[in-house]
């Protein structure tokens, strides 16, 4: 087979997302390189995996060979590549994100297989001119420079810190790495409200809608905190670090200030502060062997929603078997920001053999599995009885908690709204703030989350709607580019094993 013929077959197999055909073209020791990858890929199986990952993240792929010259076992090709990127929600003007470029390839054949395929192109036009610049009034996590090194392009502000969110030119690549491999997330912006003292457990129980009275050291529990009117303030994970120390690992809310305000001038025997703890998450099925390699005590021994103290190269950490992925994964809390960079570097080094990829928390996968994040500023005026986690609210226990009376009244009157999933009938843009929704009875609601689901190959969302809205019903949603229909469905959208 001539090099140019092999290349043409490769293009067809790629555009068709035909993994078997891709693999058939390469040998065991073949090498593939393209500037879109940091390192060349070696071996037919690895080449297949990488190329499929790239192909699935795009659609309407077209390759046109402009000219080709074969010289025995070596060939050169000049070609054009055109494709649409899947999963970004498109540009502000409604046009899709595209991967269009002209490129060259050098193909070397050996014994009828592609021995090496090297693609040459300029990737500069495919990315923003430079990374988003930070403003000086927000804090940086200890890992910020590492995220810049990893090529982060976009951040959001979270707990007054910069939260790295977009690294990849193809959203599917991060999704795939989480679903099948292992990912490392800078979540140093996930702050801890530390409650310490003889009343720590009772105080956390008082803040929380969920019964915490039976928690023991080493337990973790997802919970919801409300204000006195029953409005959702935060949905932290509580980590019971010691007998008198609990961390509320929280989202984008001033939870430490809230707790300090309640304690001030009260009889609670606790101190409240934000310790110098900046976590990372290691999420994905290969997180288990990686963490066992890195930590002194193997975290694989932890059950879900448990935590323990251990160390990494002598640096003390807390590790919890928790995370924002609904899959295998852990959070590592270094007990000083001085340890953050050495621990990051160690995870990177040891993660190489597992194909560790630095990414952000994956919104696509989280929403597919019904994992969300809710805080005071973005609660849509919801109380927890209207939220996906309504079953966790303990209104009938003995313990008092902030908002209990209000929530009991709401329950007595009847909860007026509920949270549901939506399957959209066309692609939706990136959600920058909530979208209005109207049901068939004229009732209103809000779409709070909207992403592309790679498992379902369509746009999905989570909304708060009138309680009368039923499964299967179609609602109309208005977003900045127009109106779409959404069919009401259950959450989670897919099972744990369903992957795109």
């Amino acid at each position: 087979m001539k090099p140019s013929e092999a290349f043409a077959k490769y293009c067809h197999a790629f555009a068709s997302q035909d993994g078997a055909a891709i693999e058939h073209l390469f040998g065991e020791a073949s090498e593939f390189s393209i500037p879109l990858l940091r390192e060349p890929v070696t071996g037919r199986a690895n080449i297949r995996a990488q190329l499929l990952r790239s192909a699935i993240g795009q659609k309407e792929i077209e390759v046109q060979i402009l000219r080709a010259i074969d010289l025995d076992s070596i060939g050169y090709v000049e070609a054009t590549y055109r494709a649409v990127v899947v999963g970004t929600g498109g540009k502000l003007d409604g046009s899709p994100h595209r991967m269009d470029f002209r490129f060259m390839a050098r193909i070397v054949m050996e014994q009828g297989k592609i021995k090496s395929l090297e693609e040459f192109l300029d990737t500069r036009p495919l990315f923003p001119d430079e990374r988003q610049k930070m403003f000086a009034v927000n804090r940086l996590t200890p890992y910020f420079e590492k995220t810049v090194e990893e090529g982060c392009l976009e951040w959001m502000v979270y707990n007054n810190m910069h939260f790295p969110l977009v690294y990849d030119h193809l959203p599917y690549e991060a999704y795939d790495a989480l679903a099948k491999g292992v990912t490392l997330w800078d979540v140093g912006l996930e702050r801890q409200t530390q409650v310490k003292g003889p009343d720590a457990r009772r105080f956390v129980d008082y803040l929380s809608c969920r019964d915490m009275s039976r928690m023991k050291t080493g337990d973790c529990r997802y919970t919801i905190l409300t204000d006195e009117n029953g409005l959702i303030m935060s949905d932290p994970v509580a980590l019971f670090i010691d007998d008198d120390t609990i961390w509320l690992s929280h989202g984008n809310v001033d939870l430490t200030l809230w707790a300090r305000g309640i304690v001030m001038n009260s009889e609670w025997r606790v101190t409240v502060c934000e310790p110098d703890v900046a976590p990372v998450q290691i999420q994905g099925p290969l997180s288990v062997p990686l963490l066992d390699d890195v930590c002194k005590e193997p975290p694989s021994a932890l059950k879900y929603y448990k935590c323990m103290r251990t160390s990494v190269d002598g640096m003390p950490v807390v590790v919890s078997r928790t995370g924002w992925s609904s899959g295998e994964g852990f959070e590592i809390y270094p007990l000083s920001s001085d340890y953050c960079i050495p621990i990051w570097d160690k995870l990177k080094r040891h993660g190489e053999k597992y194909g560790l990829r630095v990414t952000a928390p994956n919104l696509h996968r989280a929403i597919e599995r019904g994992v969300t994040d809710i805080n005071y500023y973005n609660n849509s005026g919801m109380n927890p009885l209207e939220d996906l986690s309504s079953k966790l609210v303990d209104l009938d226990g003995e313990a008092e908690f902030i908002g209990k009376a209000a929530l009991r009244e709401i329950r007595a009157r009847g909860v007026s709204r509920r949270s549901v999933g939506l399957l959209f009938d066309e692609e939706v843009p990136r959600l920058e703030w909530f979208w209005k929704l109207q049901d068939s009875r004229g009732g209103g609601g809000e779409v709070r989350w909207a992403v592309h689901s790679f498992a379902l190959n369509q746009s999905i969302g989570i909304a708060v709607v009138d309680k009368a809205v039923e499964l299967g019903e179609v609602v109309r949603v208005t977003h900045p580019r127009g109106t779409v229909r959404g069919r009401v469905t259950d959450v989670p959208f897919v099972s744990k094993s369903a992957i795109g």
Binding site: I69, I74, Y76, E78, F120, T123
Partner: protein, 135 residues
């Protein structure tokens, strides 16, 4: 250039003349390689596509103000009557720092000169060789 390159058909000879002149940082010799309305595409020179001898020479001049040293290693040239293609490694010292670019180049031409030379390499993590665009 780091090794002698084979002479071939017209496009190959012209392409190699251009690459030799580039390695020697000689805009005058570069100009002789191209037809009057030739096009050169070179990622690290703004605006990326240079049309006509004047733009081509001006852009190369600007680039060579920053490129203190240039060396090229190339693989086998593949050519036909009107097209020559090769790949290789371009090393430059730019503003005191070494850059290494794995590149490929496609060229087309006539006996009078090249009508096109398109370089393909990734410029993304590098500063342009000149901050001045050629327009």
């Amino acid at each position: 250039m780091e090794r002698p390159l084979p002479q071939g058909l017209i496009p190959t000879a012209r392409l190699l003349e251009y690459l030799n002149a580039f390695a020697d940082r000689d805009p005058g010799r570069i100009a002789k390689c191209f037809l009057p309305l030739a096009c050169v595409e070179l990622p690290l020179m703004r605006p990326g596509r240079l049309v006509g001898i004047e733009e081509i020479v001006t852009a190369h001049n600007l680039a060579f103000e920053s490129l203190e040293k240039v060396s090229l290693k190339t693989h086998t040239v593949a050519d036909s009557e009107a097209v020559a293609m090769l790949s290789g490694e371009l090393r430059v010292i730019c503003r005191g720092r070494e850059e290494i670019h794995a590149f490929a180049i496609a060229s087309q031409g006539t006996p009078q000169g090249l009508s096109r030379a398109s370089w393909y390499f990734d410029s993304r993590r590098h500063r342009y060789w000149s901050d001045k665009p050629v327009l």
